[in-house]
Symmetry: C2
Subunit: 298 residues, 2 copies
């Protein structure tokens, strides 16, 4: 199975998700930017500014070329030519009661034949609703279970560790699943089987986000709740700029900057030493920002 075949399947995921998200939003339409990367490859960046989704990006890219020694070292692989293709999404909703969501699925291959799949989905509510977080995790578990009985447990823990804002000592949100460098050796699954897994994750995304949006999209909110959303978006920006490996990889490989940073929030705030008052909705929500919560059996 050829890398271009995989890239085509990923493009179809992008198409399908964009169509679904336009329906969900009911107002905004995606605008597409096609771009080429100087050293090889390119992508299709699609951005929506709608009614429900204040700023959302659904990016497809397939890039290739020589891998710098610096990055090869960071990835602990021999240098050579690389090929990387993926779909990457971040949606920032307008309503603070609706959660931010992120999804990424990707395939990576080196000229010496090394290859792997990676990806993940995670949910970042401005106000955590543990019941909805449970639904979110149950849906992820269902897809994982279809492919491997250990995947949910393993990838849920991986997400807890990955989507962690170390300097704040808090998780980014309620987590989800995260996985990287899955191949035949590590998983005992064929390339076809692993592709089927990440495609299932990709096709889960839009219906899953719909179930997260529908119960919340018409809730009223106050100025103060909008400010809280800005503060939580500030945390999101901190995570993406300080820790996110995809962002780092993009910046280090001179990717298209507007596609890499489309994950940044439309508006964010940093108040000095802000702490919500005890017992407030905001303080209650913060209590959920920790690792190792069993959302499914909660």
């Amino acid at each position: 199975m050829n890398k271009l075949y995989i890239a085509e399947r990923l493009k179809e995921v992008q198409d399908s998700i964009c169509a679904d998200l336009e329906k969900l939003d009911g107002d905004g339409k995606f605008k597409q930017d096609l771009w080429d990367r100087e050293e090889g490859g390119g992508g299709r960046t699609r951005v929506i500014q709608g009614k429900v989704i204040e700023k959302g990006g659904v990016n497809f890219s397939a890039v290739h070329g020589p891998l710098s020694n610096k990055i090869a070292q960071a990835l602990k692989i021999e240098s050579g030519d690389f090929f990387a293709s993926g779909v990457s999404i971040v949606l920032h909703p307008a309503n603070p009661h609706v959660p931010i969501i992120h999804m990424n699925i990707r395939y990576f291959e080196m000229s010496n034949g090394t290859w792997w799949f990676g990806g993940g989905i995670d949910l970042t509510p401005h106000y955590v609703d543990p019941v909805l977080a449970g639904e979110f995790h149950r849906a992820l578990k269902k897809v994982c279970d279809k492919h491997h009985h250990e995947y949910y447990t393993r990838f849920k823990k991986w997400a807890d560790d990955y989507f962690y804002i170390r300097h704040r000592k808090e998780t980014r949100g309620v987590g989800g699943i995260f996985f990287d460098r899955l191949n035949e050796e590590t998983e005992g699954l064929t390339k076809e089987q692993l592709l089927a897994f990440i495609l299932d994750v990709g096709y889960l995304f839009a219906p899953l986000y719909k179930t997260m949006v529908e119960p919340k999209r018409n809730l009223r909110f106050t100025e103060q709740q909008k400010q809280w959303q800005h503060i939580r978006r500030g945390r999101y920006a901190e995570f993406n700029l300080v820790y996110d490996k995809g962002t780092k990889f993009g910046l280090d490989t001179d990717g298209r900057i507007e596609s890499i940073l489309m994950s940044l929030p439309p508006m964010a705030e940093w108040l000095y030493d802000h702490h919500p008052s005890v017992g407030s909705m905001e303080a209650e929500s913060l209590k959920w920002h920790q690792k190792e919560i069993d959302w499914i059996h909660h």
Copy 2:
């Protein structure tokens, strides 16, 4: 000359600057947070939310303890106990016509006797006024010239290289001076002489910012100009979270997070692929965001 003596002189710089900035603002007063660092030392963080200064922080710290191998390696020094003391300032003004400013002076010492001074001042106008930028650089040159005839040229270039947002291919603002690891060996100046230099930089800060603020503080601005300010603040956040070594050092040594990140803007915006229209004030301002501009003889 003892490290505690140096820390005391730095504290005096903080006191003097806070007093001057309260006068300049005319409304806001600094609030102080005293803090201790678990592994040793602590600081005095002072934050102002005023009329002219929307959000400003003037931080003093003196921290010590064992230096992790990771950081020792990054600094290319032997591991051991470190001592670091400094004053660090970022001011975000309310009026988009008034520039953001940053200043830092610091002393670092290892238990094996290695020591150095570092620091810098740089100006980040939302709208570059080249005449005012010239004044800014002339004032920096005057202070540099008092201590070494090559300092301004050397440290201005260092600032051009340091305050550079590589992924945006633009400088953070109009630059200033930056210097690091100055000691007797590198400079042929004594510790006393180098301390005198960084104190001169420290005492220059408040009067210099006053000359940047006074001609602009009463200018009217539009909603659109306020949005441009938010966009430029987004760039500021990108620089601090992705590149700033002080921020990285703070995060890596488990410093007090609110003191490290007080440099982040009160409100910032990221619009997808935003480009100001040709000939606009915003587009004209962007043209100045490059290295190697001779501001003094411009």
